[in-house]
């Protein structure tokens, strides 16, 4: 299990590019927003947290097709499916590794991008925390989409179509809890706890569904 984790990290880091592409895409989204709505700092600081979440969501969706694609191509996916370990666990580990490599950089880059959007320090902190807690859910749900489209030659866009409706709750509760952190009367804890619950829930359901899918597509 740990070996698999190390292997995933090493491949992603040595291969290079993967993590950086996500961050650059995130930066692009953040950059085009002021062009689209005008450089009004007050308005930007208001919608800033939401823009951060949308950018992170899109950047995460962008990288999802890499979750199983490479392993399918070089055949190591078949070996994983034939392992004695429960496939669900292996996929869980793969998801975590994928999240660390491709989504954690987004969370780390959030303060910088938040400053560009004139988000208050409290808002930046809240954005980081909610993204840290919420984005794993996107990866876990994305694992289902990635496992379904792994046999397709160009599954990237299809993953986004399939996964997007399912991750909308993550976005809703993520932005809600940031809103609660910035604006006093709204509660922070309730939406934040729902976000945590959602991540935990998908961490079970996502790998399970993906393992069913991969096992079926292997035989």
């Amino acid at each position: 299990m740990i070996a698999l984790f190390k292997r995933e990290l090493l491949i992603a880091l040595r291969g290079g590019g993967g993590a950086l592409t996500g961050v650059i895409f995130f930066l692009c989204v953040i950059t085009i927003v002021p062009f689209g709505i005008g450089p009004d700092l007050k308005l930007l600081s208001q919608i800033g947290p939401a823009v951060l979440w949308i950018g992170a969501l899109l950047a995460t969706l962008l990288g999802l097709d890499r979750l199983f694609q490479q392993d399918k191509e070089d055949g190591s996916l078949d070996i994983l499916v034939c392992q004695e370990h429960a496939l669900t666990w292996l996929i869980f580990v793969k998801c975590i590794a994928h999240w660390i490599v491709s989504t954690l950089p987004l969370v780390i880059a959030t303060p910088l991008f938040g400053l560009m959007l004139n988000v208050s320090p409290m808002g930046i902190l809240a954005s980081m925390v909610t993204l840290f807690v919420g984005t794993p859910a996107i990866t876990f749900i994305g694992a289902v989409g990635a496992s379904v489209t792994v046999t397709l030659p160009r599954g990237g866009v299809l993953i986004a179509i399939l996964v997007l409706p399912l991750v909308i709750p993550v976005l809703i509760f993520g932005v809600l809890s940031i809103d609660g952190a910035i604006n006093e009367p709204q509660p922070f804890t309730a939406p934040f706890l729902i976000l945590c619950a959602f991540t935990l829930f998908t961490s079970v359901l996502g790998p399970l569904a993906a393992s069913v899918m991969l096992r079926h597509s292997a035989d």
């Binding site: 379904v148 489209t149 179509i161 399939l162 409706p165 399912l166 069913v212 899918m213």
Partner: protein, 262 residues
């Protein structure tokens, strides 16, 4: 009590036996050929009664004539959810029992469900304009139904993208079962969130909070829509089976490589 359980088991066993019996596509085709005319006739007559009752229903004291939109809007929304549930059950049928027709059923139901969801959204929008003053509101119920619409589109896109039917069947089943989570969210969205959309008024325990002049046409229309769904579903399943046979014949005769669209 024991009698009751025995009876239940009997029903389930008989249903199981019937489903196994129907696993043969040719047998299903014969069954579909026989039942489709009846279903179509029944649906048509129910629609006639329902529409008559609906149009002769008195005007609501608040909503005026627009209340009649309800007789199309509510059944299509119910059917949109029921259709997805039928697809989810078919998904279980594919993954657990590998029933050969479960996959055909899932695939055949998706476009029908999309159509019902579209109908519910459009009629809801038409009803919302005079009542709420807006075509569209980002309200929990509306948004969750819209997400259902997107899920339907995703499933249909996936079913078109994978050419090999057996691979597609598993992918579709997994995605449908995961996507089913939206159904309880839609159902309870009016209860969980404070919404503009009115809460459930028909399926309340005890007496429904709706007058009989509106309730009967609504229920008749709901029944008509349900029968219509099964009629269309059987017809579409029949088409899908024929399409697959054609595909096999084409592969056998070696025509598939010549850029034929299947």
């Amino acid at each position: 009590m024991i009698e009751n359980t025995k009876n239940n088991i009997g029903i389930w066993a008989r249903l199981g036996a019937w489903l196994t019996h129907m696993a043969n596509p040719t047998r299903f085709m014969r069954f579909a050929d026989r039942t489709i005319p009846y279903l179509a006739g029944l649906s048509l007559s129910l629609f006639a009664i329902g529409l008559y009752l609906g149009f002769t229903a008195p005007q609501d004291y608040q909503q005026g004539a627009t209340v009649q939109i309800m007789f199309v809007h509510v059944p299509s929304a119910w059917l949109a959810m029921m259709c997805f549930s039928v697809m989810a059950v078919s998904g279980i049928g594919t993954l657990v029992w590998r029933h050969p027709l479960a996959d055909v059923s899932l695939r055949a139901a998706a476009p029908i469900g999309l159509a019902f969801t579209f109908l519910a959204l459009v009629t809801g929008s038409l009803w919302g304009k005079p009542m709420w003053g807006a075509w569209w509101v980002w309200d929990a119920r509306l948004t969750s139904v819209f997400i259902l619409f997107l899920i339907y589109i995703g499933i249909i896109a996936l079913s078109r993208a994978i050419e090999e039917p057996t691979t597609a069947a598993r992918s579709l089943s997994v995605i449908t079962l995961v996507g089913w989570i939206i159904i309880p969210i839609i159902k309870f969205s009016v209860k969980w969130w404070n919404t503009l959309h009115q809460p459930a008024s028909v399926s309340k325990l005890g007496a429904p909070s709706m007058d009989a002049v509106f309730l009967y046409p609504l229920l008749t229309m709901a029944l008509a829509f349900t029968v219509l769904f099964f009629c269309l579903h059987f017809m579409n399943m029949r088409n899908e089976i024929l399409r697959r046979r054609l595909r096999v014949l084409k592969i056998k005769s070696g025509q598939l490589g010549k850029g034929s669209a299947v």
